[in-house]
């Protein structure tokens, strides 16, 4: 046999399960009259989110008019433009790219199931994600917890009223591996507590967990809303299962001015942290100005779902060829 390791990183059995999963996801959406779309991978604009690192390349690189194109980190912006143009319920199974993300649960190139629903509200979309997981992956019905409830239960703080200093103290208290000079902002501390303190506990709940109503400062592209007790929260949810973060969804913000402001704030944060600023997607903003219908949307990592279904510990074991063998 050849010395060079050319073999797939997934077993042929797992690749067969992958093919079946792709077919099952399509069947799920076709049965619900959700239309399949495919949009460009290369874009002149890129998301501004500070901790999302886009790959880029040049068109006609040797010419004087060489132009930079970014590989999508998700098909979100293009799909929203399709919604603004009049489509209502669409899905896509897309290759997406995130630079510098490599590990047991991360491959810089992976497959995303992303869908948008003009005919479903926030709760309706969460229920549909739950239904999809039951239908294509035979997972048990999900349990729902608000972000605030999880922090109350596992960290013993009220995230809506707690000040930054006490959140920081909690983090040092509960995460022994943190070096004493660790610095970050409020959301940074909350994210650390979420992944180092709360997520390990969620593993023991044997159903998918849908966490909803994130802090308003972590809204990303979600609408803000008032929760049951009157606090402003982001209409954003995340799905966890078996120790994996599977999906992220929004009741989409349809206010172009608000989004323009958030993109700008992101770029300011990038500048402060010495990260490159990103070209804002002006066509997305134009389409939203012309009218993005009320809609909800979610992105779900297909590879991680397959890891869960086939009980593989590492993402490379569910991909034909891992990053190091590509």
């Amino acid at each position: 046999m050849n010395q060079l390791d050319w073999q797939p990183s997934a077993s042929l059995d797992v690749l067969e399960r992958r093919a079946q999963l792709l077919a099952d996801v399509r069947r799920f959406f076709y049965a619900r009259d959700v239309m399949e779309v495919d949009t460009p991978i290369l874009s002149q604009a890129a998301p501004t989110a500070p901790y999302l690192d886009s790959f880029h390349t040049e068109f006609d690189p040797l010419s004087s008019s060489a132009q930079r194109y970014f590989l999508q980190t998700s098909p979100e912006f293009a799909m929203k433009r399709l919604l603004a143009a009049g489509l209502t319920d669409i899905f896509q199974i897309a290759k997406v790219f995130r630079n510098s993300e490599l590990g047991k649960h991360h491959n810089p190139e992976f497959t995303m199931i992303e869908w948008y629903r003009a005919s479903l509200n926030y709760q309706g979309l969460m229920n549909e994600v739950d239904k999809l997981l039951q239908d294509v992956a035979q997972l048990p019905p999900a349990k729902f917890f608000s972000y605030a409830r999880l922090f109350q239960q596992y960290v013993d703080i009220d995230v809506c009223t707690c000040n930054d200093v006490s959140i920081r103290e909690k983090a040092f208290d509960l995460i022994q591996s943190l070096p004493v000079d660790w610095e970050t902002d409020r959301d940074g501390w909350l994210e650390l507590l979420m992944s180092e303190v709360i997520e390990p506990k969620l593993v023991f709940i044997n159903t998918p967990i849908i966490v909803y109503d994130f802090p308003a400062s972590q809204a990303q592209l979600a609408k803000l809303r008032q929760d049951e007790v009157g606090h402003m929260v982001a209409a954003r949810f995340e799905v966890y299962a078996g120790g994996l973060e599977l999906a992220n969804g929004y009741d989409e913000c349809t206010d172009a001015d608000e989004l323009r402001q958030r993109f700008k704030t992101d770029n300011d944060k990038r500048q402060n942290e010495g990260l490159p600023t990103m070209p804002i997607d002006i066509r997305l903003l134009a389409s939203i100005e012309d009218g993005l219908p009320a809609c909800t949307g979610v992105a779900l990592g297909l590879d991680r779902l397959l890891m869960l279904m086939t009980q593989q510990a590492s993402i490379e074991q569910v991909q034909a060829f891992s990053f190091n063998k590509s």
């Binding site: 901790y51 510098s100 995460i175 591996s177 070096p179 660790w182 994210e191 990303q220």
Partner: protein, 189 residues
């Protein structure tokens, strides 16, 4: 010494942390939601032998540690240091009690040990998996009993005590597994 960014972290990488040389046991890349990525690193402090965890911001870098592992022959001890010789350069290195703590029961002249050097100083001496050692003390053997059932303690020339079958006598050479500190068989020479 070179520095390494978190993307180069992998098990076995030797790096400096808080002034001590350490070796990575496990490295995990973590990205919480849409937040800043970090690395959860399990490592061994090579000076103390202790295993610990540390969180690093992804993209941070650490200084490499000048740590190498070499095979060396054990020569002798003066009570304070245990001396090992590099068989190619004949250079001698003195290891202190801390460095030989895992191997002191198995030190025999002319045997080859793996010596971990940091800036030229032995940090850790690891014994070979098997060594042959003489029995210096044990209860009289039971002739004819070769079943090996039951067993008895025997003290070896290095001071180590292992359980041996009843038929083993003082002066016999035994093959011993240093990882489990257990008798394997009678040795030929």
């Amino acid at each position: 010494m070179a520095s390494y960014s978190t993307n180069e972290f992998k098990s076995g990488l030797k790096f400096m942390l808080d002034g001590d040389p350490c070796s990575i046991i496990e490295n995990e890349f973590v990205k919480p939601g849409k937040g800043q990525a970090f690395n959860r690193v399990k490592f061994r402090n090579l000076k103390t032998g202790r295993v610990n965890e540390r969180t690093f911001k992804s993209g941070d870098s650490v200084e490499g540690a000048d740590v190498i592992e070499t095979d060396m022959e054990y020569s002798y001890t003066d009570g304070e240091f245990w001396y090992f010789m590099d068989p190619t350069t004949f250079e001698q290195f003195g290891a202190d009690a801390n460095a030989i703590s895992e191997s002191k029961d198995w030190l025999k002249e002319q045997y080859v040990y793996t010596v971990t050097l940091w800036n030229g100083t032995p940090l850790l001496v690891t014994p070979p998996n098997f060594v042959n050692l003489l029995v210096t003390e044990t209860d009289p053997g039971v002739r004819g009993d070769t079943s090996g059932g039951g067993g008895k303690p025997a003290t070896l020339e290095t001071g180590a005590v292992v359980r041996v079958p009843l038929f083993i006598e003082i002066g016999e050479l035994l093959r011993v597994d240093t990882r489990s500190a257990s008798y394997v068989e009678r040795a030929k020479d």
